[in-house]
Every structure is written in C-alpha cells, then in structure tokens.
Subunit: 797 residues, 2 copies
Amino acid sequence: MTTAVSDLLPTLDEADLNRVDAWWRAANYLTIGQIYLQANPLLREALKAEHIKPRLLGHWGTSPGLSFVYAHVSRLIRHTGQDTIYLTGPGHGGPALVAAGYLEGTYTEVYPEVTRDESGLRKLFRQFSSPGGIPSHVSVTTPGSIHEGGELGYVLVHAFGAVLDNPGLLAIAVVGDGEAETGPLEGSWKGVSFLNPVHDGAVLPILHLNGAKISGPTVLGRKDPAEVRELLSGHGYEVIEVEGDDVPGMHHRFAAALAEAWGRIRTIQESARAGEWDGTRPTWPLIVLRTPKGWTGPADVDGVQVTGTYRAHQVPLAGVRDNPEHLALLERWLKSYRPEELFDADGAPVALLGEQNPSGELRMSANPHANGGVLTRELDLPDFRDYAIEVKSPATLRAESTRKLGEFMRDIYRDNPDRFRLFSPDETNSNRLGAVFEVSDRAFMEKVYPGDDALGPEGRVMEVLSEHNCHGWLEGYTLTGRHGLFATYEAFAMVSASQTIQHGKWLEEADHLPWRAKVPSLNVLLTSTAWRNDHNGFSHQGPGLIQNVLTQRGTVSRVYLPPDANCLLSVADHCFRSKSYINLIVIDKQPQLQWLTMDEALEHCARGAGIWNWAGTDDGASDPDIILACAGDVVTMETVAAAQILKEKLPGMRVRVVNVVDLMTLVRPKDHPHGMSETLFTELFTDTVDVVFSFHGYPGAIHQLVHGRPDADRFRVRGFIEQGTTTTPFDMTVRNKASRYHLVMDAINNARRLPQGATELKEWCQAQLARHEQYVVEHLEDMPEVQDWSLGDWATS
Amino acid sequence: MTTAVSDLLPTLDEADLNRVDAWWRAANYLTIGQIYLQANPLLREALKAEHIKPRLLGHWGTSPGLSFVYAHVSRLIRHTGQDTIYLTGPGHGGPALVAAGYLEGTYTEVYPEVTRDESGLRKLFRQFSSPGGIPSHVSVTTPGSIHEGGELGYVLVHAFGAVLDNPGLLAIAVVGDGEAETGPLEGSWKGVSFLNPVHDGAVLPILHLNGAKISGPTVLGRKDPAEVRELLSGHGYEVIEVEGDDVPGMHHRFAAALAEAWGRIRTIQESARAGEWDGTRPTWPLIVLRTPKGWTGPADVDGVQVTGTYRAHQVPLAGVRDNPEHLALLERWLKSYRPEELFDADGAPVALLGEQNPSGELRMSANPHANGGVLTRELDLPDFRDYAIEVKSPATLRAESTRKLGEFMRDIYRDNPDRFRLFSPDETNSNRLGAVFEVSDRAFMEKVYPGDDALGPEGRVMEVLSEHNCHGWLEGYTLTGRHGLFATYEAFAMVSASQTIQHGKWLEEADHLPWRAKVPSLNVLLTSTAWRNDHNGFSHQGPGLIQNVLTQRGTVSRVYLPPDANCLLSVADHCFRSKSYINLIVIDKQPQLQWLTMDEALEHCARGAGIWNWAGTDDGASDPDIILACAGDVVTMETVAAAQILKEKLPGMRVRVVNVVDLMTLVRPKDHPHGMSETLFTELFTDTVDVVFSFHGYPGAIHQLVHGRPDADRFRVRGFIEQGTTTTPFDMTVRNKASRYHLVMDAINNARRLPQGATELKEWCQAQLARHEQYVVEHLEDMPEVQDWSLGDWATS
C-alpha cells in the first residue's frame, strides 16, 4: 500500500505558514528592490531619491503571484521530494524568479559575485534591467529556467515537452491570463491528449488570472468563472479554483489546492504504473488562481486605483525620484514586508528562509532538468551508412530520400526508447518517415478504434496538426536533455518561425553562460518543398524559413540542403550528434535522382560543398568558362541537366559544377564558423569566373551569404521567385526561371569564352521553353504523362 | 412586430428536399469528376481507363460535407434573403467550392470558357490541379472566396474580420477538425468577445467533425461529445449538434439546426438593434456537424474501410487507371449520384438545380463581400499635413513620432465610423496611438467595470493579446473592402509572419484576375523596435519581418522606414490610400530626434530616398569621398552623428549622407516597380564611391536589395546582428557594431581619399568605444543618467 497524500503533505501548520509567508515576503521585497533601488538595499537608512535608480524598469504586476506559487510549490517539494521544475509563462516577472534563485542560494552558486550579503543585494538590484546587467525577463541567465516567457504562448508546450519520457518529473506551468489569449497557448491545452501517465511525467498548469494585461482587461479574467471552468474542463482538466487576496487565508487555501492537485497526479500515476490503467486519458488537475494584479502593492496612487488593475503591470509608482509622496509610499510599501525580519545583520537571508528551501537539486532554481545539458545522454546511433542507397552511377536511380531517413530513425527509436522522439503535424507517413511506426505508434490518449493505424496511448511518435505544439514540445524535450526531430511541410514551417527564432535566441544567449551545459540541437526537417507540391497550391510553396535561420548568430544557425538520400543520412547523423544548434535540413519527399555513393556523400558532406567533376567539363588545369553551382535537390537536378546539355551541345565550353550541402560554408569564416577559407572558396568558385547559382530558396539568400567574397557581384542566382500553383516540378522551375534551359542561357550569357554554336544553343533553349509553354496551354486537350514529363527531356532520354 | 423565423424559413418540405438533395448530388458528382475524369464527363459512355486523368490529385474527404452545408445555406438564403458569405476552413475541399460556383452559374460568368455544357464540364474537370489550370484549394481563383484554407488556422479570424462593421452580413465559417487542432484556430473562437450585435454582422461557425486528418484521427473527432460541448460552450457559444450519415434524415436535421441557429442570430440582432441589449455578450450559436469523412464515397476498397477514415482524405480509389475493379467501383460511385437526372442533353445543369440557387448577388459564389474591392469606399482622410511637427532645424527637437500617427488615426476614426479600424495586441497606448480612444473605446463584450479605461461594447478599437487574431481580423476586414492598420511589437510580428506571407500570396494571385477588384492594403506598423526595447530583453529584439516581406513579389511588397514623424505621416497617408499591397512601416515609439519639415518630408517620401545635404559635407560638384547611407530611425541618428563627427574632426573629407525611406527604391526597377532607375541610383550612390550603409534590420537585407546595382560590393552594411539585451539604444548600436563611432571608422577605412588626421580620428573613436565599454562595466558602481546618455555625446553637446 502506498502512503496517503495527507501523510506526505500535511495541512499547512503554523510553522510552515511562517516559513512560506516569510519567503514570499522576502521574494516580493527583492522584486521591488530590483525594480527601484540602486543603493540602501535593506532600508537601513531613510529612503532618499538618490537610492532610486535613474530609470525605473521592470514588471511588478505578475510578480507577487509568481512568488506566491513558487513558495507553495517549494513547500510541496520539501515535504514530498517531488522532482519539479517551474515554468513562468508571464516571463515579465523576471525579478520574481531571480529573487527565488537568490533566496535558494543558487544565484550565488552560479554568479559568485552576487554574494549573500548587503553588497550582493546591491549588485542584485543594480544589475537588473541595466546595461551590462541582466534582462528584465525570466531569461537564459535565470537559473532554473527553460522558458523565457517573452514572446507569449509557449509555456505549456515547453512544459509538456519537458515531461515526455521523464516519468519522475513534475512541471509547474504558470499561465498568465494575457498569454492565455494567444493562439499558441490556447492550442496547447491539448497536451494532455498526448501524455502517457506511465512513461511521461506530469504538467500542472496554474492559470493565474489577475485580470489585466498592459492596458486593459483580459478575456478570461472577465469571463464568468463558470464559463472558464467549462472551457478548461472541456480541454480535459479537473479544475481546482482558489481566489482572494486575504493573508493568511490564501496560504491555507492554496496549500490545500496544491495538495489536492498533487494528490490527484500521484493517484493517476501510481495507479497507471501499477497496471490499473485502461488506456483512456486521465483527467489531470489544473489550478485557477485568481489574485489581484500587483497583489500586496500600493492599492491607490494619486487617488487612482492601482492594485487589481492594468496600472500595476509595470512600475506602479513612477515618480519616486521627484515626488516625495511617491518616495514615502515606496518606503512604506517596502517596509510592509518587514525586511528587518528577513535579512540578518550582514544582509544574508535569515535561517527561517533557508528552512523553506528544498535541498540541493530539489530547489527549482537548481533542478538539473532546467539545465538539461547536464542530464543529456548521447543517442545510441546505428551506423547511418547501413541505410545507404547503392548508387552505381549518378542520376541513374530514383528514390524517396526521406524514406531512408525514416529507416534510420526507426532504429534510433528502437535503440533509444527513453530519449528520442519525432514530432510532426500529421505528416509522418506523407513525408515517407513511416518506418518509425514499425517500432512505435503515434501517441494518442483519446479514443482508439480497432481500424486505427499505429495509434495508441503507448505510442511515442508525436503527431498533432499544430506546428506550434510540435515545435514547442521538441524545444522542451531538448532543453531537458533529450533528442528529436521536427518534420514539417516547408511552407508551414513559417507558422512556427517565431518559435525557431526565439529558441535560437535562447541558444545564442546560453552560449555565453559557462554554467549552462549544451543541449541537443533543435533539428527541423523541411520536406514537401516548394518545388514538389504537385498536388497543392501556391500556399504550400514557400522556402521562407531559410531566410529566417540565416539571420541567427553563427554559433547557432545551420542550414543543410542534401541533394540525395546518402547525403541526407550523413547530414542527419551529424545533426543528431550536434549540440545547441538550430539544424535546418531541407529535402523533398518525392522520388528523386540519386547522385552520390555513400563514400562520396560522406566526403561531400564533410566538406559541405564540392566540385562534381563527373557532371561538368572542367579540366581542373585552368579556370573554367563558367561555374554552375547549386544547393537543393530539384535545382541540383536542373543544374546537372544544364551541364549535360552544355556538354553535349557545346563540348568546347569548360563548365564546372559545384554542389553546396552546407549553406553556411558560403559565408566568410569571420561571420560563421562553417565559412570556407578564402583559399577553399576560390578553389571552388575561382575569384573571377562568373557563377550561375541555382538555389532552392529565395535568390536573395545567396546574395547575402556570398557578400564580401571575391567579386561577389559575379554570382547570378536563380531560385524560388514566388511563382507557383498546382503543377509539376519542371513547370515550377520554368515559372521561376530556374529550369535547365534558363541555366544554359545564363551560362552562355556570362561565360568568359564562348565556343561556336552558343547562339544556336540559346535559340534551342528558347524553343524548348516555348514548346513547354505550348504544352501547358494545350494540356487540356492533350494531357501528357505528367509524371515522366516532369523530369524533362534530358532525364528520360 | 417582426416576422417569425418559421414563417421566413419553413420546415424542409418535399420540394425543397428534392432541390437541396439534387444540388448536393450534383456538387459531389462534379467534385469527383474534377479529381478523376479527363473525358466522358457525363458518363454517357462506359467508363474506360483513358477517361481517367493520368495523375489523380485532389481531396475528396472533406468535400461532401462542405457541399452539404453549402446546399443548406443556399436554401436558407433563398427563403430569407440573408446576405451570406461562405468561408471554407478545409480549403483542400477546393473542388467542392468550384462545383458550387459552377452550379450557381458564377463560374461561367467569371470564366466564360468554362461553359455550361458537356464541353465546359470537360474543361472544368481537366483544369483542376493541372499545369496551367487551377490549384486544388479553395483559392483566389474560386469565386465567392476570401479564404484559401491552405495554411490552416484562420477561417474564424477571416470570418470575424469580414463581419465587423457589416451589420447585414452573415459569415458561415466551416471549421475542419484538423484545423481545429491548430493554435491560431483555437485562439480565434474568442471572436465573439469582440463582436457587437448592433454594428457588426454575425459569424456562424460550423465545426465539421469528420474524425480524421491526413493519416490519423483528430483530437476533437475522438473526444467525448459532452467534452466538446463543454469546450465550445466555455468559449461562449450555444452548441447545436447534428450527426449521422442517413439521407434524407440528415437533410431534415441539418435544415432544422440551421434554422435554429439563424433564428437565434436574428433574435440577438433584432433585439439588440431595437435597443433591448444590456451590453453583455450574446450567446451566439454554433453548429457541430458530425458526418463520416468521404461521406457517400466507397465504403470499402480492397476489403479495407475507406469512408469514415483518414483513407478517404485524398483520392479514395488510387488504382483506377490500371485496376478494372477500381474503375468499375468509380463508375458505380459516380452513377450513384444519378447524373442523368442532373444534367440535360447538352450537359447543362437541369432546372431543378437552378431552383436551388439564390438569385444574383445572393449566390454565395457571387456575393460582392467576397470580392470586397467592388464595395470599397475610399477613406475620408483628413489632411495629414495638419498633424505635422514644426521642425525649425534638423535634430533640435525630440518627439514621439507615432503619437502624431495616433492623432491622424483618431480623426480617420472620427470621419470613417463604418470602415476603419486599428488592430493591436494590447499595445495601442504603449505604442503612443492612444489618441484614437478620444473617439472610440476598445471593443469588449465581456464584463466592463467602472474604473476601466476606454473599454466597452460600443468600442471599435480592436485589442487582443493575439497577433494571429489581430492580423487575421484585419485581413478579413480589408478583403471585404474596408481599411485598417495592425500595430505591433516589431519582434512579435514574426508570430503572425506566416499570415503576412499567406495574405501576400493571396494578393499576388489576385493581381492576375481581372474580375477581382483591388482591396485596401494590409498596413502593418512595426514599433517598439529592436533598437529601443530598453526595458525588455533580447526576445523583444528582432527585425525579422522585413526579411520575409522582401521575398514577396514586387506587385505586393512595400517596406517603409520613416526616420521621423513628418515622414511617418506622409508614408501613412500613402499607405491608407493604396490598394492590394502589404505595407510594412517601421518606426519606434520612443521620443526621437526630428529631422525634416513637413514640406521636406513630403518631397523626401515621394522620392523614397534622397541626399541630406545639411548633414554631410558633399559639395555636389564631384563625387564624395564616402557615402553614409541609412534606413531606419535609430540608425539614421547614428549616421547623422557620424557625419557630424567627420565634419568637425575631418573637415577636408567630403561626406554624403543618403537617407532611404522606401526600401524598395534600392532594388533594380526590373525587380520592383519602386526600384530607382540606374540614373537616379548613381545620382545618390555614384557608381564607384564606397557606401557605408546603416540599416535598421539585418544587414543581409541590403546586400540582397542592391544586388545588380553598379559595383554592389562597395556597400558595407551595418545593422542588427542579433546582439541584444535590456539596455540603452546607444549601447545596442555599440553591441551591433553600428554606432556612430563604428560608422566613422568604416568611413575612414573605405574612403577614396583620406585627409590628414584620419588615423587619429580612428583612434579617438576606439577610445570613445572603450570609454563606453568601461562605462557599462562600471555602471553598477556609478550608474549614469541613462536617458540622456543614450543619445551619446554628440546629441547632448
């Protein structure tokens, strides 16, 4: 028999109340100190204008609620030993979480200069929101955090991602009522429909309704509580409500609510783990906490109500430096927390506060799951070369490249049942990755019917029609030290582009913090690409995410365009081993020509870019007449086809073909660590010969990447110029002026030296394009075999 | 007394049932024909393999449900004259909506070559999903649509946007259960919390649960119906449910449900408009429709269940051309709709089908609201020059530029109470646009308390903490012919970047369709920019949306960076008058130096870029030694400061300052209609002098824009290089190596001719930067007056 919850977590008694309340007062005091004070941190002399920071920055409104919850969860941990992390949806409450880390001692462990005395307090206060100090949000610099809460909407996805395959972990996710208005947050309550009570941990959402955002009320804050209850209950939760501003009443009620929620979680998990689970979705608890915005702050300022309104959002007393009344009000407010009881003569937190802290790694600010790199176990990776496609000679075989990746991932799933997941918006099969279903179903906690395919509560493949959920879950999964891949339609990767950017920012900042261990990379596979959306329309054609990843720092951004299956396997293996990058891998799922043997692919991917001698007519002895470069699968086919046409029809012209897999090799090494040295760059591209570059994405991307390279103006780029519809890939290349015929004409127009026959060949190319246009115009009367025709004349002849 | 609903819309009788059912059968027949047939469209000979398209594309699964709803809504319109548009969330059901337009006659009106006879049917079928034909989605080419439904999540936001200030309009919004899994959709149910029953129209959401998406079940499709009811009821709706697959039973039940919903809407609106409304949110109706996926299609294929499963999603019979059993099954399936009853000898729809169509513009495929340009009334715009800031000389006055825009918009609100709205995620005041509240409150249908500020059910300013809602509402508003602006934090514009891209694609495509009238532009104001997020952290610093708008076609993309208030007013006036563009306006909200008088601003903005003679030392007679160019407010300040330093300390150096307002002027005219001619370009930038370009966004943007310009390599670009934190704007420019001192050093390093003293000046700059770094390091002990210091030495001296 297991221990009853009430034995583990007794009703809040007087001693515990004192600890919790003192800690909460201290946290609030430190929060206000960070916003206002540059000196006199313990108010040991009368507060004067010169003690006040010259510029008042920070967000008070949400902070007392955050600290209140934190204190009670700490108490829960103390009594139960529950392994717990704390995710702050309202990340503006940064000073509250910094205060928590300081009170728990973690802050000083991580930043020894912020000592536990008066001078340390002064540093703590002055660094906040100051140049050279720390940002105002719960950020990478905040120990215990894996969630910034700056761009709102992702606290639940991060929490759910963190507890997947982490059966012992509880993630407290505080959802602000501002954040609750966002689409991504509303779409993320459904995490419970994918959470397994046996092999996953638990998320306890705490919806903190303080009623207002920056300058107005919130929808949930003003809705009838019964309607809010219905909504959350409709999302599948058991709703526990706590409301008020009375102290100590609120302590007792919240402690009871938390005990009830934790008890419910424990019962769900214990019974499921004891084999008493029928596979239906448990009803997980959720707490709705209603407290006034800016709780415990000044009720009114200048005769206007502040606490409980949007006016408490940032700095409730704005005129402190100039207005003696405001200054006096601030002093009274600070003193209301009785700092003299909370800090000893040196300024260190008193013993009572220490008693409230859980020990060691159980402190939420020190929990290793929130510094997931320290828990990361490398993937047990099968040899990717075992999945190679046998390529006897280039361009003789067509295959679905991503299918090989699916087989590779199937075995990664098999060998790493506790630390690898695939996330996809319902496209695993569509993207030819379905082999993973040989070893794992899709996770699904709602009803499963007999005819369903690879679906069930034991499944660990994550499919939900929400890029936001997929991306966010993977972020939470990797930030807590596990590995995975997000596979999605290329165009719809833009839906979660802001998450890619924000996660990149997190990794960029973490790179500067020695105490943050590196975490597994965020791997994003873009497939169903712009060039091969034969059955979908223009909305499905957009290579935009590349543009955005290019803007990230070189420490983080990686973009790979493997041209075939063997290159894809090599790239994927590299990405799965890498740490703290955003790895973007772009390749289509349709059958495509295969170019390289596995050995060749290995060498090609290791270099990141290389000359394909077999494709061109370059003798290597001197500079070629023209360079045809390419990055991306379909454009590589067109480039090789163009080179073939030139070889056959203008044999005297020296054509070099360069293929680029690792896009960042194009950048100067001072701007990206993958950037080729100038020597290597000129070995591939010379420093004078014109380059016709055929690119998978928007042409401007190449122009910005090669900027600063020798005579960058000589790069003529063809790529996706925003032309599309439901059509064949060859027609797509024509519409975007990137077909083999366009490339041949570009080559002729820019070559250093033109053999006889060039003019005729240009005319021939124009005739080919005219024939194609005519074909398209006439197709209604004489529809060609689209499948073969899509390869054009060259590949089929 | 008003007429009872039952008098207007009688119970479905036999005659009406026949019309509705025949129309539905015809729509289904035409849908399948589009997916499968290239010949023999009326099955007047036995179906053979050669009648089948070579490549089977399209989505059957959702289509019969879409047509079923459409038929019943048409009947409602016939009886009541209700002005109605139809938004198809599951846009994959394109053939169903094309079929509807064809049956209503609109298709032939718009595309006369698709005649109403057998030859027209053949065209209709063959064009679908074919090169040179029409895309597979409900797209711009589909008459009656303002919503593609390709990227899922936006059907409700478009519907709500369409009915704002359209009191007579009903928007039917079919939400697929796949789409219902997305974050943006879940976040958009709350539209009712902002919808006024007097001055707005109504949205009737129809949640169509067919249970499956591409390859698996959906969350809502598998949830307990009671839980789904709770969820939707919690969102604030009255839920009406219809379930089944029996015909004619479903016709009767759905007709009754629709009558109930419409009656409810009518009651809400009539009582509110009769003055009987207390201002609380009405409980609007919503229909949950449960039908099998692929309803009326083949139940099983090759012994495997198809209808009712994900296998019906696209093409349920895949092997028709090669497998005689599949071919026979297809023939039986098509004949089950009894085409011989539906089309006359010529192949035209029979009279019974015509009786089912509403008349003229009441046909949903012909409703002018879905071609909003035809209803657009220009804004009554006050003279923007009336809001000018008086600038006596450059850089002597600081002002919050967006505050002037707020005053301009206040009067636009006043003068256009039925056709202008501002949309913002709770940032109207924060962005200094609060003057609008002098004439309109924020719209809010939830509880309003006495202390609330500019808030209430009569309000027409749209604030919701959801970029998705704001952006999508504005799209729906402009696509139906009205005007507005979306104002948001620059960094968080990336949250809705995919909407910006998808709307751009819509406008790009519409540009090719003569029958689509141009609509008001989508105006996006990016404020709280990367350089001025003094009180927020790195997450709030990202100028990424510019990168994305640059990838759109020149027919659509516009990016403006007004350096001051007068330029902002001129740009805004231009944008409010423009049609069918994406206008991105980037300017910060903080106090900033003002440069130009209104007359100067007018001329400068009309040109889009110009030389600021007063800022430089260029004599105009010959080429300068260096050009300092800039685009963006903070970087303009740094550029002018750099020029000032050079003027003072290296008076012999000829420096030209060029400011760019309209970013697209940099592009070659062949790539963008705003592109400067080469003559104008060289007048500003010469063709040989090096340019130090200081840009608001990521530097790569400029590199791609100037590609192809004379010697583009000479452009050295400084910009946001992804360095940020909570700090002052001046420190931001230092961190991003874009400060005045960096620009001076760049100028010296790249000038054609260097006067004496250049080396010393570089050393001086380095010393200034070192002094700044030291300042930052030491600030904890000696915090400067950040506000003044942020302007650096020059502006304060």
